[in-house]
Symmetry: C2
């Protein structure tokens, strides 16, 4: 079981966009250069984030991405689901209805115990991600990194290197 | 993100083995026929469950699989990890250390916030599965199905169909 690399990109890029001062849009180029990501491939994930209502995109030379809502109202789960979709990782193939032990269809109107247990685990996973906001992610960025990011996002000289 | 089909097989097969009366080993053939699963492919998963200490295998014509421990001491997580491994679904590729925004290695001795958040979600998922035992899975099987399974596992006529 593997999540796509886009999850790491989407979470980091959204947290970086959230660090831009009010009114400043972050270009796709800046995002791709900041993290050394292939721009064309990143574009697909950014579009998914726009479709999911996490980011807004404005066109033009000063255009780019902004948060669609305040950072404390966007969850890590929204970003995850924008990139990975909402389908649970466990897919029941109804093996209880196959073979010599087949349970008749009329006894299978509800999911089986295994399926319920796996669904609960999925809920626990998503619940954990739903409890974290973009504001939390930004707060976890070390303050000197945040300061440097802010300078880069506004085009100021960063002072280091 | 997808879990392998083997997870459904492993959980159901272990729960079925748990329904066998004391002293009765369940053959690979019975398991594969019961759920209509390809025997050779199922064999790999059963071996993984033996290696993980979930099942024991005894050879010979009356041989087969038994639980390695009492059903209330084996968790759904053990079965899941026997089949899928213990690697977290999220793989951090350290994008914070790449590109123009690269954080210097000396500031990256600890996982970043995104990585911590994803690790916590993984813990929540595994924790949920660790809280469920094989005894719980058996208890979730409807009683008439359990009765029929027991008859099949002992070779008695099942009465139905
Ligand atoms: S039949 Fe699919 S998980 Fe039980
Ligand atoms: S650098 Fe990999 S998740 Fe942050």
């Amino acid at each position: 079981m593997k999540l796509s690399q886009g999850v790491e990109w989407g979470l980091h890029c959204t947290a970086l966009v959230a660090q831009a001062p009010d009114g400043i849009a972050v270009s796709r180029r800046l995002l791709s250069e900041h993290y050394g990501l292939p721009e064309a491939y990143l574009a697909k994930h950014l579009q998914a984030l726009v479709r999911a209502g996490v980011l807004t995109a404005t066109p033009g030379p000063r255009g780019g991405f902004r948060l669609a809502r305040p950072d404390e109202q966007i969850t890590a789960l929204e970003i995850l689901e924008a990139i990975e979709g909402t389908a649970p990782a466990f897919l029941c193939q109804e093996i209880r209805q196959r073979g010599t032990g087949a349970v008749p269809p009329e006894d299978c109107t509800r999911p089986c115990g295994v399926s319920v247990v796996m669904a609960k685990a999925d809920e626990a996973w998503r619940g954990s991600l739903a409890s974290v906001t973009v504001a939390d992610l930004v707060a976890l960025v070390p303050s000197h990194t945040r300061k440097r990011n802010r300078a880069r996002l506004t085009g100021e000289p960063t002072g280091d290197r």
